[in-house]
């Protein structure tokens, strides 16, 4: 397996959508390719960071204001 082959399956590996046989092949490649190991780990970390950090916060007062505006219009039949 080349690094290019590995990269083509990177998403499937991250999303746990590879067959057991393919997983073994990917693991074997990882065992001897430090670069692909870094790419895999840092890509996983990238996703995790974006998933766990709220970068566009909706403050409670704004949320309540928008919520009330929506519901007021729905009650009037929009």
């Amino acid at each position: 397996m080349t690094c290019k082959d590995f990269l083509a399956l990177l998403d499937d590996l991250i999303d746990d959508e590879v067959s057991p046989n393919m997983r073994t092949e990917l693991q074997t490649h990882l065992g001897r390719c430090g670069h692909c190991e870094v790419v895999l780990n840092t890509t996983r970390k990238t996703i995790e960071i974006y998933r766990s950090h709220e970068i566009y916060d909706l403050p409670t007062d704004l949320r309540e204001r928008l919520h009330s505006a929506i519901m007021a219009r729905c009650k009037k039949g929009c």
Partner: protein, 213 residues
Amino acid sequence: MPTIQSVAGQLEPHPDVALVARVRDGDVSAYDTLVRKYERQLFRIAQHITQNREDAEDVMQDAFLKAYEKLEQFQGNSKFYTWLVRIAVNESLMRLRKRRTGKMVSIDEDIETEEGSVPRDLADWAPDPEQNYGQAELAEILRKTIQGLPQGFRIVFVLRDVEGLSTEETAETLGLSVPAVKSRLLRARLQLRERLSRYFHKKKGLMETGIVK
């Protein structure tokens, strides 16, 4: 007191199904529950696409109102949330079009770039690299980094990885094929990784001496 019997092996219907049915029967309070449940997500998605807070506020309101008006058209063969997201994505793109005075805006924008499709930065990151930044500073880095992605990659990444839609749901929501979503997602992830690398590298030497936290 009546209880809901679940038959072994049978999938429970999604709780939104009952709420949507109640709204259709004229129960506005059920819609209140649905709005509360999804307002944060819709606001976040609208912010990611429009990159403007006021636009995101308008999009969120318009999307919920439109969904309420068009609830009869909701088929029920997709999740209510996915349907709602589709409305919010379309409203966001329309808002961008207005801002750019009619210039075409689509989710195919700027995706021809080859940038980041091959990883170049192969140095490892510090363990828990986000710990080296304060909350506000980290949020700014993450915002700046994702805003630099081409629109068509950013939306796919946000729906799939941040909001947790499946590949199929993302494809359905954006009117893309599954292979197109997969290819955009890989490139979005790789570009973000590449751009974040400059902030999250191990700082060799300095780490050990304690000069850098």
